[in-house]
Symmetry: C2
Subunit: 265 residues, 2 copies
């Protein structure tokens, strides 16, 4: 009995931190497709126009593969392309990172001061700030682009107490610390891997993880859950993706991805 | 009287450090085209197959625009795609970074120990090492991938004595320092912007700058020089490129780039 197919995509490996959380809860799907656009990563330093163009191709690919619902496991696409994607793909459920994380932050904050960390494109777009202030116009939102965070994660600067990553966090988080935020949204799917460093700079602050919030939103009753089989697709070398996937999935789960030509979609 | 058209390309803005040196010497062209593939930058963390595919499109675009000679102002493409490009485009002069910089390093070294810094793809490919040892098989070559260098430059971590960039240099350059290299090739066109940091870690070491070496190789007698007009093309937002270009060109030269769709080529 088919339970249907869920599509998940990101600009690269970061979205695996979302997939990891989705696989930790009961979901009503027995097939999950993950696409990482590793041939064109990163999206976070590109223009809105380019991000929208790439994201349209990503969605087209997942639809062609049979996805019936799509999770946009990329903070940058969620911020910069959500409206365009919803307009174009209006007959399929699309879930981005912004709404669920903004709602979680709104529930968590006590003092109404909320920090948002994201890529340049995410922060420039202002989607988190708009969503938070739509929930409560009195929220004070402190947004900081953290463009070096993704390379620090991707190039292995995440060892315990790495001084380069500590210094970078101190610099990027200074405004949020000084502003007294009690809740901070990790607005990019790479950032959970820096959570220990961020928590050290911001003691006592609640960190909101996109993946955990999306998983809560998607969880279904145990009895309707599938036992999802995951298929992985990438737009660059699959061996490199397969080697790194475990770091982001947080498990020794064996990953064997298939390379596709995303420029065709 | 037309003197012809030179094409220059890079994965993004880095190649402007090469263009800068080319514009400092007399060259036999009166039209120079620069293409930066800002919509798909960086190349240095991608597979050889993807780098070759992207570079072929970059060359096709420049040829279609009228280029009669092409400078590959990108260390990664020079290392990973040169043979394929020469095979495919065998009726046009193509100059990469490897040969000129390897020859300059071979001339400069006294002790025969040469360091090579580059992106992951450049170092993995081993092109610099092969070229150096083809010149002198007794050279000892110490190669180090420095993947965080490009983001450090692109995201503005180049202020005087920036402690994050200093620590990163110390870490990446440790093997070359300990190995006693007296000459180091800056094997990526972004790296000249980190030269003060690299020099601080490696006192007394000669740094080889790709752009300067290519400019020496291309320089012509003053009397045959053109007064080149430069046209800039990019594959992402042109305003962002135009804003950052001055940092790489090292001048207040006004840049107005045109956006093109590189996936069409």
């Amino acid at each position: 009995l088919s339970k249907g197919c869920l599509g998940v995509f990101d600009s690269g490996v970061g979205g695996l931190t979302v997939l990891r959380e989705l696989l930790n809860v009961p979901i009503a799907y027995d097939r999950v497709l993950y696409f990482g656009d590793t041939g064109r990563v990163p999206y976070g330093s590109r223009s809105a126009e380019t991000i929208i163009q790439y994201a349209r191709q990503d969605v087209h690919f997942l639809l062609e593969m049979g996805a019936e619902e799509i999770i946009i496991a990329c903070g940058t696409v969620s911020a910069a392309a959500m409206d365009d994607l919803r307009r174009e793909f209006d007959d399929i459920p699309l879930t981005g990172m912004i709404e669920v994380s903004a709602r979680a932050a709104a529930r968590a904050t006590q003092n109404g001061i909320i920090g948002v960390l994201g890529t340049q494109a995410t922060i420039r777009n202002g989607a988190y700030q708009r969503q938070l202030q739509a929930i409560n116009r009195d929220f004070r939102v402190i947004s900081t682009p953290c463009p070096l965070f993704v390379p620090l994660v991707e190039y292995g600067f995440t060892g315990e107490n790495d001084p380069i990553t500590r210094l970078t966090c101190q610099r990027y988080l200074e405004d949020i610390r000084a502003g007294g935020a009690d809740t901070v949204i990790l607005g990019c799917t790479h950032y959970p891997l820096l959570a220990p460093f961020i928590a050290e700079c911001l003691p006592g602050v609640t960190l909101i993880n996109n993946g955990i919030e999306v998983a809560k939103a998607l969880a279904c009753p145990e009895e309707s859950a599938g036992a999802p089989r995951v298929e992985y697709f990438v737009s660059d070398d699959s061996a490199a993706f397969d080697r790194n996937a475990g770091i982001f999935l947080g498990s020794s789960r064996q990953v064997r991805s298939t390379r596709i030509d995303i420029e065709r979609y």
